[in-house]
Symmetry: C2
């Protein structure tokens, strides 16, 4: 019954709490709160990553890892799969078998057409500026899971039209 909603409600409270008591009202304070949320997401992602079965931890292809994020991680956290994975501006809808060869440069765009943490927000362009605080935790979550899987990355998110959301993952080659 309630278990699927628990994470969503808790996330909402966390955002509200950080904004209500933690943040200076200016842009500096907001940036700080975003960074705190991202950090929490990172550590949760790391911890989730550590619980993965050993065979998962052993995959070495970047693309297998991204596929894992779009399917297994997303289902575990949001009870749905990511809607599409793109790289180099070529769209591929999961679970197409044809997306595998499209990934040369380590930049991926993961799109969720109805991102659960945005879905309760009123839509309309005037609400777009509220979106970043509902994305920071999940950016961290992706970055943290990747980190446990041995991949250093930068993850950002953007919203053009609610509740569709794109996460851009740029792999950091070392």
């Amino acid at each position: 019954m309630a278990d699927a909603a628990l994470f969503e409600f808790l996330h909402m409270e966390m955002v509200a709490e950080l904004w209500a008591h933690h943040s200076d009202p200016g842009p500096g304070g907001q940036k700080m709160s975003l960074s705190v949320l991202e950090g929490m997401g990172f550590r949760v992602g790391q911890a989730l990553g550590e619980r993965l079965p050993q065979e998962t931890l052993a995959f070495r292809e970047e693309l297998d890892v991204l596929k894992f994020l779009c399917k297994d991680l997303w289902v575990a956290v949001f009870q749905k799969q990511m809607d599409s994975l793109r790289t180099n501006h070529q769209a591929q809808v999961l679970p197409s078998p044809h997306w595998a060869p499209l990934c040369p440069q380590g930049t991926y765009v993961l799109q969720d057409n109805s991102f659960p943490l945005l879905i309760r927000m009123a839509s309309g362009p005037q609400y777009l500026e509220e979106a970043p605080k509902f994305l920071a935790f999940t950016c961290g979550l992706l970055r943290g899971t990747l980190s446990t899987l041995g991949i250093k990355s930068l993850v950002t998110a953007s919203v053009a039209s609610l509740p569709t959301c794109k996460f851009q993952v740029v792999i950091q080659k070392t």
Copy 2:
């Protein structure tokens, strides 16, 4: 895979974050952080309560509600049932059919013998003083769910030996 652990990890981060940046080091600051956590739990419990099926919202017997908390709510949040429910110092292990008549005064003790939010803590009496910050959210969660079900309550928790934990629910008659 990871979904059962998500809440646990997120809760851990929330506690750590509130203690690291939110709290004055003194007892006043700690009390404030406990109250913030309890409030977050209360609102999450309320929201979960609002998602319950109508037939659940319709039960009017206090005891049915407590039974619901011990079984359905606990399974939804912690993937296990509460281990026992007591009232007036008479122990009854769930799901005994005999516990129904034991509830005249509106005070209940719900015991979890391996409370998941305490289970990762090192045991030993020296860690007992750390326990309250891992209990405040859940006290709020119980109070919030009861509130949506039309019951005003006070909920406190105590730990005598980790990871066993008792929640005391005192119903507030109006």
